[in-house]
């Protein structure tokens, strides 16, 4: 808890920059891994958020209803520019993908077959999984220090990833423990 260490964030982006950035994120993620791409660009390249803030936003956006990635765009957009920012980021994230999906839908319902992109996507998906793993490694190096965080990390990975227990059930059990552990200690003066 070092005071004033969080003020080194980049200047407030414009609406156009928000839209272009989220468009960039959407297009880069053609093999998947949208969360990892969001961190790569929002935290690493643009320096718009610190890792701690980004990670907590990711999980809040997962708990709330709605598509996680749309939620994250709304969250980041409104952080900087309120409602117009949320709209710009969401618009940037979805416009080109919606057009692409419409073309694919037209093609599919016209010819009744799936366009042959499977090979490319299989390779890109392997890399997208890698980007997601490396996001876990990079962020984990910072926050998995100590016994409690490592146990929290391992339990939720096991429960949600391996056992496919529902996200909300996992969080109902583990989030209270995480919050008690994360609660700021009273400063002893």
């Amino acid at each position: 808890m070092t005071p004033n260490s969080s003020t080194s964030e980049a200047p407030t982006p414009s609406l156009v920059e928000l839209a272009l950035t989220f468009n960039h994120i959407a297009l880069a993620s053609f093999g998947g891994g949208l969360s990892a791409w969001s961190r790569e660009i929002v935290v690493v390249q643009k320096n718009w958020m610190r890792d701690e803030e980004f990670l907590s936003a990711v999980t809040m956006c997962r708990i709330l209803p709605g598509a996680n990635q749309v939620n994250l765009a709304v969250f980041v957009g409104s952080k900087f520019r309120g409602i117009p920012g949320a709209v710009a980021a969401t618009f940037g994230l979805t416009l080109v993908p919606v057009i692409l999906v419409l073309i694919l839908a037209w093609f599919y319902f016209q010819y009744n077959e799936v366009p042959a992109l499977q090979g490319i996507l299989k390779g890109a998906a392997a890399a997208a999984v890698a980007l997601t793993i490396s996001m876990a490694i990079k962020t984990g190096q910072k926050c998995l220090r100590g016994v409690v965080p490592v146990i929290l990390f391992a339990l939720i990975f096991y429960a949600n990833g391996i056992h496919h227990w529902p996200l909300l059930g996992c969080l109902a059990v583990l989030a209270p423990i995480a919050l008690i552990w994360g609660w700021p200690k009273e400063k002893k003066s």
Binding site: A28, S29, G33, L34, W37, D51, E52, L55, T59, M60, R62, P65, A67, N68, N71, F75, S78, K79, I83, A86, T90, L93, T94, V98, L100, V101, L102, L104, F109, G119, I120, L121, K122, G123, A125, A126, A127, A128, V129, A130, T132, I133, M135, A136, T139, C143, P149, F153, I156, F157, N160, G161, H164, P166, A175, I177, L179, W181, G182, P184
Partner: protein, 175 residues
């Protein structure tokens, strides 16, 4: 295409938007039930096919609703379905983000930022695990994933460059 279909689209997807706690894919069964069995917009097989297509397209995974809207009521239906699926949940996220910004000094925010970080890392790794299973990885794909992970973790090479090369490798049929 008629007004009734558009109203059905609007009501269905805006209610699914609010119900989709934990992510868009949690309401897929309900979406399937309504679109196929109730409204007869498309067949069972078509639903499965467009789900696969929507997952492979870039951008948010929820864009299956764009394709459903398109099948039900053309381009207008597609746009309406997409907006209906995003706005109600988006309003809720907006409210939360406002509260979040105004709570900069609050111990609750500090506890969430610190406490949720290890949980998020676990969930991110879990999603990587689920993604590799969904993509039906064999040993060659796992090898490619392993090599890419090392590159992403230890170098500063632009990830897009690596993903493109991996896409090319897939296109050549090597994974």
């Amino acid at each position: 295409m008629n007004a009734k279909t558009l109203i059905q689209i609007l009501l269905l997807f805006s209610s699914l938007s609010i119900l989709s706690i934990g992510g868009g894919n949690t309401v897929l069964p309900e979406m399937h039930h309504k679109a196929v069995s109730n409204y007869h917009w498309l067949t069972d097989k078509q639903f499965a096919d467009i789900f696969a297509i929507s997952q492979s397209a870039p951008g948010p995974s929820i864009l299956i609703v764009t394709m459903l809207g398109y099948k039900a009521a053309g381009v207008l239906g597609a746009i309406l379905a997409t907006i209906a699926m995003m706005v109600p949940a988006g309003i809720l996220v907006y409210i939360v983000s406002r509260v979040w910004e105004s709570a900069k000094e609050s111990p609750v925010r500090a506890a969430i930022e610190k406490g949720f970080a290890p949980l998020t890392v676990g969930l991110v790794l879990a999603s990587a695990f689920v993604m590799s299973k969904a993509a039906d990885h064999d040993w060659r794909a796992f090898l490619l994933t392993g090599i890419c992970t090392v590159i992403f973790t230890t170098t500063k090479i632009n990830p897009l460059f690596i993903v493109s090369i991996a896409g090319f490798i897939g296109w050549m049929g090597w994974v």
